[in-house]
């Protein structure tokens, strides 16, 4: 399926001579040059991204990064100076006024930073505004607005005026107004940044919960990286109007595209963003169940390890060959390790947060196994590697890193084996 919302080379110049600025941009000048030489503000500079249906796509940047302008160009509250926006296969720039209104009524709704409620209308009238504009009959409109209010936890507040509500509740009304039209695209312009931290967390929870049910396509603006990491399926980092990096939170933290992003992500609680598949690497060696106990014991001794994973031919984990069991088995005359295995290991799916791995890491003689849903071994997370990932000292990821033994230096006597 094609992407749901697509921005192509979006550019916005604020000033009286946008053409000149666009020419300069075309010939490779940056925003600073254009501001100094032409007196034009290049607020958004060639921004492109694609948002899949049902995805929560975060556009993150500090103030002045052009993020609010980007979101307003999606529904043409701000007219792009150059570039295109596609909603499905509809080119937004090609719509006339009527078509644009139709698009805004039916397909995209918006939630604002300072709530932007109508102070002279009641809560339910606010929630019903989009429906009223669509021309929905009063009774149905009221019913659907009440429903939306209930969804956001505001049942019973219909007849109040916005000024009688707290900030968090006002934004719930804003959210209800956005949900009531059933538009499949929701634009959210820093919806929670004007709220107190506790209320903000509550609202983030509410949005995450709603989104798991409703599966709208959401473009979410924020300057708060933790919020971006918490909510975003993918994050687009903007700086001075340009895209610096687009990726999942884990990708951005694990391999920041520039020093700017690296500095930005330095303070993030990595354990709540990074997942097992980022921290894992290929096991140094695995054995088949037919291997001889002597061979495995020799290898373990050479590695100063005390256990190793044993896999079936299709890659499924059969168990762990531990040195004490092997030694005992050898004494009893066992010829294959297949009968000597223990299930003394932890296995997790690849999307497990590192925070959840920490508790498991210390328990077993072998590193944590990362397996897919058929039980196939994807990689292992040795404890030292987990700690390095959490500390942010281990930037290079993936199986390639395995050979370099990044954790060798830290391995002590009780360190679990690197299977």
């Amino acid at each position: 399926m094609a992407s749901h919302v697509r921005a192509e080379g979006l550019t916005k110049v604020f000033g009286d001579a946008p053409k000149k600025a666009l020419e300069a941009q075309g010939s490779g000048r940056d925003a600073a040059w254009i501001r100094e030489q032409l007196g034009q503000t290049l607020a958004v500079d060639d921004v492109s991204f694609e948002v899949e249906a049902g995805e929560l796509f975060v556009v993150m940047g500090l103030s002045g990064s052009g993020k609010s302008t980007v979101i307003r160009m999606l529904n043409r509250l701000v007219e792009p100076s150059a570039g295109e926006v596609w909603i499905g296969d509809e080119r937004v720039g090609a719509l006339d006024n009527r078509g644009l209104r139709e698009l805004r009524q039916r397909r995209m709704s918006m939630v604002f930073q300072h709530f932007a409620l109508f102070p002279h209308r009641t809560v339910v009238e606010n929630a019903a505004f989009g429906l009223k504009v669509q021309g929905v009959e009063p009774d149905e409109r009221r019913e659907r607005a009440e429903e939306a209010l209930e969804t956001v936890g505001l049942a019973g507040w219909s007849e109040h005026y916005p000024s009688e509500l707290s900030g968090g509740m006002q934004q719930r009304v804003g959210l209800a107004r956005g949900l009531a039209t059933q538009a499949d695209i929701l634009l959210m312009d820093e919806p929670f940044s004007a709220l107190d931290p506790l209320i903000r967390r509550e609202m983030q929870g509410l949005l995450a919960e709603l989104q798991s049910e409703l599966q709208r396509t959401i473009v979410f603006i924020t300057h708060d990286l933790n919020e971006a990491m918490l909510l975003g399926d993918r994050i687009c980092v903007l700086r001075q109007g340009r895209v610096v990096q687009i990726g999942t939170g884990a990708q951005i933290i694990a391999s920041p595209a520039s020093d700017y992003v690296a500095e930005f992500v330095a303070d993030v609680d990595r354990s709540r963003v990074l997942t097992a598949d980022i921290a894992m690497r290929e096991p140094r060696r695995v054995f088949a169940p037919t291997a001889s106990p002597q061979e495995v014991l020799d290898w373990l001794a050479g590695q100063e390890a005390n256990g190793v994973y044993v896999l079936a031919e299709d890659g499924r984990v059969l168990g762990v060959a531990r040195d004490d069991r092997l030694a005992r088995g050898l004494g009893e005359g066992a010829r294959e390790i297949g009968g000597l295995l223990t299930d003394d290991y932890a296995n997790v799916p690849p999307d497990t947060l590192l925070a959840d791995l920490s508790a498991l890491a210390a328990r077993n003689s072998v590193p944590i196994a990362v397996t897919d849903d058929t039980g196939k071994l994807l990689g292992v997370v040795p404890r030292a590697r987990l700690l390095a990932s959490l500390a942010g000292t281990e930037v290079s990821t993936g199986p390639q890193a395995a050979g370099r033994d990044p954790n060798g230096a830290g391995r002590g006597r009780q360190e679990p084996a690197d299977a």
Partner: protein, 289 residues
């Protein structure tokens, strides 16, 4: 040295000549407008006057008291009753109603023209750039000059008084309408647009309601300015309180002048508090945030 200071350094310009030429041209070419305009305005004033003067004084008095009660409160209603009884006791009730008719018509016309102009100015920066200096000009040009012009175009009577009041009192309606609309929270207007509202819905459903306190403040000022023209209108033979005061001044009858002035003050307090009360009351009921 004093002679030097008084010396003219710029070449002579016959602005006076141009102005009177322009007036002559207007008289020659736009007479077809002035005639009907005079008839219409005169009819309007006459109609409102009949409404105010026709019924028994008691009825009008009670009506004013009721208006004062609903717009402001019972204390002000008592004041209104006492104040207009005083006016009646001085024997100027009818003259006051005649002046009120002039104020009402002038203010209504000023608001009817001023608010749309203000809306236009709020929506278009070009219009604003044209309208603003025009309003400055209208407000600072001494009111007597309008009266002079109005008398030339509409002859002696109540009509030049209304027209001069209208021109003099219109600027606040334009200004405060524009200001009120421009000061509506941008995000709130964006919100309406983001949900696909038409420009008309944005205006009538969001901008005008939210600008209402400002617009009402403008209406209040329009009425006050129109009232301040009542005396000047008296010079053009508009009658009413203006006529009484002009007579007091011309014949040096201080007492009569004072009575007329007192009636104007009472009318002013009444109109000011009532219009301000309606403005604030509206805003309050809408739960201003």
């Amino acid at each position: 040295m004093p002679e030097l200071l008084a010396q003219q350094i710029a070449p002579d310009l016959d602005v006076a000549g141009w102005a009177s030429d322009a007036v002559d041209w207007l008289l020659d070419n736009l007479a077809f407008i002035f005639g009907p305009l005079r008839t219409i305005v005169s009819a309007l004033v006459g109609w409102v006057e009949t409404l105010l003067v026709g019924p028994p004084v008691v009825v009008i008095l009670l009506a004013f008291t009721a208006i004062a009660y609903f717009a402001v409160g019972w204390a002000f209603a008592l004041f209104t009753l006492a104040a207009f009884l005083l006016v009646d006791a001085m024997g100027h009730f009818e003259a006051t109603m005649v002046s009120l008719a002039l104020v009402v018509v002038a203010a209504l016309l000023a608001v009817a023209i001023g608010i749309p102009l203000g809306i236009l100015a709020a929506r278009s920066s070009t219009a604003s750039a044209v309208i603003k200096p025009l309003m400055d000009f209208m407000q600072t040009m001494p009111a007597f000059v309008y009266l002079l012009l109005a008398v030339i175009f509409f002859r002696i009577g109540v009509v030049p008084g209304v027209i001069a009041s209208l021109v003099f009192s219109m600027p606040p309606a334009v200004r405060l309408t524009e200001l009120g609309i421009r000061h509506v929270d941008r995000e709130v207007v964006e919100a309406a647009e983001a949900f696909g509202a038409t420009p008309r819905t944005v205006l009538t459903g969001v901008q005008l309601p939210l600008a209402l306190p400002s617009i009402m403040a403008g209406v209040n000022q329009v009425i006050m300015l129109a009232l301040s023209m009542v005396v000047i209108a008296g010079l053009a033979g508009a009658g009413g309180l203006g006529g009484i005061i002009v007579e007091g001044v011309q014949r040096l009858r201080v007492g009569l002048g004072f009575e007329g002035g007192l009636a104007v003050v009472i009318l002013a307090i009444f109109l000011d508090r009532v219009t301000a009360g309606f403005g604030a009351g509206d805003a309050g009921a809408r739960g201003t945030a």
